[in-house]
Amino acid sequence: MNHNLQIHTKDITMHFQNTKVLDNINLSIAKGEIFGLLGPSGAGKTTLIKILTGQLKPTSGVVSLFGKEKERIEQECMSQIGMVLDNTGLYERLTCYDNLLLFARIYGIDKSEINIVLQKVGLDDAAKKCVNKLSKGMKQRLVFARALMHKPKILFLDEPTSGLDPVIASSLHSLVMEEKNKGTTVFLTTHNMEEATKLCDNVALLNKGEIIELGNPYELCRRYNHQNKLIILTKSGEQIELMNQASSAMRVADFLSNNEIESIHSTEPNLETVFMELTGRGLDTDEHEKSSRYF
């Protein structure tokens, strides 16, 4: 097996009772790659992350981390993984510092690392604050700090920025990029397509437990750029759509020479429109919406 492969899954299928939640998931993620799992609520993102981190056993299929099958190397494996999951798991009555101190002792890390990592996530001033006095964004940053402290080789992030304000989200994005540059492999789930486009080397679009498309986000967008139009807004307020090709050149030239153009841009499909085209629905939809209407 390729030594650069950090995460590999083969035919992962997961059933809860009689419902199939994941269907034949095959993934190969290389060292230093940021991989995004993109899909609407209920698609099975958290379920897959739980399987990869050994919290759930798949109905069938094989997971390998670091090129070794999961079950056999659980112990040593765990200390090379960092996790930011949707439920924080912080000790509410303890301070930020003491929360990290517990894990520094468990991992046998020098205490000086605690302040370094707190500074990295911008919590150095809050070190002595109890967790129950922190804002949501601060808690999330503390969870990040805990996940990074032991310098893991793989980071699993389950919707790391959901519900956070853009400034904090963006600072967490920088942290993730910093880790990537150090050679850490990152597996993240999100239903935010901007986040996925900005961060990820590769994304998988997950819909109802199936991977429907997979690849580099920009390539995916280009591949689905069927529309390929130019949209021109004239100074008189009219919106004109032209095909983005040679035959439109004369009309664009006309607009330009008459100084009529207010704005001009090409249609650039994003992951959202790609997902729409593949499934006929957006990323913000919820699998449960249909059923929850009955309650």
Partner: protein, 232 residues
């Protein structure tokens, strides 16, 4: 078993409990009440150390059990237990860390009882040994409840019932013979009898049997919960 990890959990628990009034009060309440009652109430023909033994028995049946159950249930509810288990802490290391902390604190409480009861020499050692045995069984039962419960709410409701059985049955049994026939089968009643006869202790086969039975049941519940807690 990695003792460094056990120690880390122990120290975490020490800090956390100091800030957790509900659990802290469990450890302090009974020794304090016993001290006050024993020193302020004088009744004719009152058996020796009446209040000390009464409250020490309730302490055994209540404090280790409820605090263990609530600590474990909270860790499950708040997902901190999962984070620990995923950080390569074995469930056994976790339980030893938390359990030894509770054991130590409760033994400190027991020393207060022993001092108030003016036990000396061999009696002092015997008193503490009996308490240690009771605290151990009580922690096991609490750990069983904690690991089997989904959250603090459900743990509390189970704990209240179990705690009533172990801490109040021996007390009611003093006034009611019917209850005494049932309470015989609790470890707290057996230990209560030992405490009452501390100068003239005699070990009966059925006492040992009942203690063992209590311990085995506690262990069974605990192992059941422990297995499930790994998966949950």
């Amino acid at each position: 078993m990695n003792m460094k990890k056990v120690a880390a959990i122990f120290r975490k628990q020490l800090k956390d409990t100091l800030k957790n009034k509900e659990v802290l009060i469990q450890f302090i309440m009974f020794p304090v009440i016993a001290t006050i009652m024993q020193n302020s109430i004088r009744i004719e023909d009152m058996p020796r150390n009446y209040f000390v033994i009464l409250f020490a028995t309730m302490y055994i049946g209540m404090s280790p059990l409820t605090s263990t159950a609530s600590i474990l249930a909270e860790e499950k509810e708040k997902n901190t237990l999962r984070v620990l288990l995923m950080s390569n802490v074995k469930a056994s290391e976790y339980l030893l860390g938390v359990g030894s902390y509770i054991f130590l604190i409760c033994m400190l409480g027991s020393v207060i009882f022993a001092v108030v009861g003016q036990y000396r020499g061999i009696e002092f050692v015997l008193f503490l040994s009996i308490m240690a045995l009771g605290i151990l069984i009580s922690i096991l039962i609490g750990a069983g409840i904690g690991t089997l419960s989904k959250n603090q709410m459900s743990a509390t409701s189970v704990t209240v019932i179990v705690m009533l059985i172990f801490s109040f049955l021996p007390m009611i049994a003093m006034f009611n013979e019917g209850v005494a026939k049932v309470s015989r089968f609790t470890f707290s009643q057996q230990l209560n009898d030992w405490l009452k006869g501390i100068g003239t202790i005699s070990i009966h086969v059925d006492t040992i049997g009942i203690l063992l039975l209590n311990m085995i049941v506690a262990l069974l519940i605990f192992v059941l919960g422990y297995r499930r807690c790994k998966l949950a």
